[in-house]
Subunit: 203 residues, 4 copies
Amino acid sequence: MSAGQQESQKVPRTERGRKTLRKLLDAAASEFGEHGFHEASISSITRRAGVALGSFYTYFDSKDAIFRALVQDMSEAVKVAARDAIEPDMRPLELERAALAGFLEFAAEHKEIYRIIDEAEFVDPRSYRDHYETIAERIRDRLRSGAEHGDFRDDIGEVEAWALMGMNVFLGLRYAIWRREGDPGSAEVAASANALLARGVAN
Amino acid sequence: MSAGQQESQKVPRTERGRKTLRKLLDAAASEFGEHGFHEASISSITRRAGVALGSFYTYFDSKDAIFRALVQDMSEAVKVAARDAIEPDMRPLELERAALAGFLEFAAEHKEIYRIIDEAEFVDPRSYRDHYETIAERIRDRLRSGAEHGDFRDDIGEVEAWALMGMNVFLGLRYAIWRREGDPGSAEVAASANALLARGVAN
Amino acid sequence: MSAGQQESQKVPRTERGRKTLRKLLDAAASEFGEHGFHEASISSITRRAGVALGSFYTYFDSKDAIFRALVQDMSEAVKVAARDAIEPDMRPLELERAALAGFLEFAAEHKEIYRIIDEAEFVDPRSYRDHYETIAERIRDRLRSGAEHGDFRDDIGEVEAWALMGMNVFLGLRYAIWRREGDPGSAEVAASANALLARGVAN
Amino acid sequence: MSAGQQESQKVPRTERGRKTLRKLLDAAASEFGEHGFHEASISSITRRAGVALGSFYTYFDSKDAIFRALVQDMSEAVKVAARDAIEPDMRPLELERAALAGFLEFAAEHKEIYRIIDEAEFVDPRSYRDHYETIAERIRDRLRSGAEHGDFRDDIGEVEAWALMGMNVFLGLRYAIWRREGDPGSAEVAASANALLARGVAN
DNA sequence: GATGAATGAGGATTCATTCAT
DNA sequence: TATGAATGAATCCTCATTCAT
C-alpha cells in the first residue's frame, strides 16, 4: 500500500526519511483504525511509530493530511484487491462474483478500512464521495459491458450499479468485519449474492 | 420522533420541562447533522434550542448521552417510515418496493439521519451495530414470509437480507442525500431496485 | 446539637419549617463530614434531607452559611462534651483527665467534627481561629485556676494551654478518628496524657 | 526543597524543562498556600510561573498531581528542618527542644505549609495520614532512645509521641502562623514546651 | 532530519443560586 | 413554604501545531 502523494505530504529525500514516512503511515492506519480520526492523536501515532512528536510535521502538514493520504491508500487498495481477484476472460457474472469474493477476503484482513473510509464522511467528505462515485462508475461500466455481451439486461444502469455496490459493502460489513462463528465463507457469500444478482429472489 | 428514554436522560416532570427537552433534541439533530458529533458543541446546541448552556445538563448527562438518544430516535423513525409506507395486504415483492420508496422519501426529508447513524459507528458502536442488525432481521423475516407465500425462492436467508439492506441504504445515499438534477424519483428508483430484486440482471 | 443562629440563616415560623431545617442541618453534617466542603453539593444535601433543592434557600443564604452554622454547632458541642465530662469538685489535674476522656469519647462518636472544623480553615478562617482561640483561653483559665489552687506551677500560661490543646487534638485524631484494633481506650489514653501533663517524661 | 517524583509527574529531559518544572512547583506552593487547593486555579499557577497554561500538563497530569507532589515536598522539608536543627550529641531532652525550635523557625518562614498539609486531609487523605504517622514514629523512636539512655521514663510510647507532636504542631500554629506582637520567640516557646515535656505542670 | 518542550484556543462539565409556579 | 427547572460563570484538561536546539 503506497501513500497517495499530495502537496500536504512532503517527499523524503533520504532512505532514512522514507523509512520514517512508512512507519508513520503504518502507525496511522492502526491508530485511526482502532480509535477513529477524532480519538486518534498525533502523539499516539508518533509513539507507535517510534519517532519524536515533532518529526510528524516533517512529513505531513496536519492530522487531516495524513488521514487523507490514508484514505487514498485504502481506496486504491480496495480497487486493486477487486481487480486482482478477476481474470480478463471471465464472463460478466462470474466476474462480479470473483470481485466480491476478493473484496470480502481483503476486508477480512484489513478490518480498519471500513472505519477509515466511513470516517472520511466526516473528516474529508470530498474523498468519501469520490471513493464511492468512482467505484460506482467502475461497476456501471462492467454492467454495461455485460449488457453489450448480451449477458445482462439492456436497461440496467446507475441505479443497479449503486445497488450492487451497496450489496457488496454491507456483505463485507456483515461477513468480514462482523463475521461470526459458523458464518458462510467468502466464496459462499459471494455465490449467494451472485445468484441474487443474476436471477433475483423471485420464484 | 419521540426521544429514546435511557438512564442517562432525565424525564422532565413539568410541561415546561418537556418542551425544553424537545427543543434540545431537535437542536441536537440539526447540529449533529450539520457538523457531525465531534465538531458539534453543546453550546451550539443550547444556542439553537434557545436555552442556557446549563439547561442541557438538566436533561442529559453528557454529549454522548444526547447523541445516543438521537440515534435511537432516528433508528426508530427509519423503521416507522418504512412500516408506514406499506400496506398489510401487499404482495411480498410489492411490499419491498413500497418500503424502499417510503425510506427514500423519508431520507430525502431527513438528510441528517445518514450522518448521525453513520457517526454512531464511532461514537456509540453498539447502537450502530444494533441498528443494522435489527433492520436486517426485519428484512429477513419479510423475505422468509415471502418464501412461505411461494413468491420468493426457498433458499434465501440472511445473506440476501443484508444484500437487500445494503442496496437500499446505498440507493438512499445516492438518490436522497446526494440527489442530482435529473435523477429518477423515489418511485422510479424503487421500481428499478425492485426489478433487480425480483429477477436480477441476467438476460 | 442546635444550630448557631446568624443573619444568614432564617428562623422558621412553623413546626413544619423547624423540621425541614433540622433535616437540612443533619444532612449537611453527614455530607460535609463525608465529602468535605468543596466536594459536598447543595443538591446532595437536599437529596439526603428529602426536600427539594430550592427549599435549601428558604433556610440558608448560601453554602457557606450552612457550613458556618455547622461549625458553630460542632464547636459548641465539643465544648459541651468536655464540660459535661467534668465535675465541679474535681481537682485541677483530675479535671483535665476527665475533659480529655470526654472529648475522646465524643470524637469517636462524631468523627465528622475533625473534617468539618479542619475545613473551616479554608472555608471560614475566622471561625477556625475563633474555635481554637476560645478553647485555648478556656484551658488557660483552668490551668491558672489550678495554679491558684497550688496544684500547678505558677509560671504556666498561654504556651502551656496551646500545648495541651494540641496534645488533646492529636490524641483525638489518632485514638478516636484513626483508632486501630488493639489501641488503648479513651480512659487509658487520657491517663497517659494526664501523667505526661503532670510530671512530664523525664525520669 | 526537591520535588517528590511520582508516576503522575513527568521527568524533564532537558535543562530548560527542569527549570520550568521548578517554576511550576514554586508557583503552586504560593498559590495553594494563599488560596487553598480548591480556590487555586491552574491558570493562576502558570501565570505566576510565567509559562503557558498548556505547559502545566507537560509536567503534571492534573491539579491533584501537583498538589500531591507539593505535599511530599513540604512533608520532606519539615522533617529536614527538624533534623537540621539538632546535633547528634545532644541529650534527649535538649534534642526535643532544638527540634521544636527549628520547626518553629521553619514554619514562620514557610507559613504555607500549614495550609497545604492541612488541606491534604481533603485532597489526598493518604498523604495526610502518612505525613503524621511518619513523624509520630520518628518522635517515638527518639523518646524510646531517650528512655534507653535513662533520661526518660520507661513506660512512654506512642501516646506520648502523638501528644508531643500535637503540642509542637499547635505551638507552630499559634506562635509561627498566628504570631502576634509581643509573643515569645521560638527559643522561649521551645523552652517552655520543653519544661512541660520534662517535668509536666504539677507543682 | 530529529527531538521534545512550549503554546493557547477550545469545549465539556459542574453547581451555587435564582425564579416562576 | 415547597418545588424543580433555568441560568451562566468558572475551570480543568486536551491536543494540534510551532519552535528552539
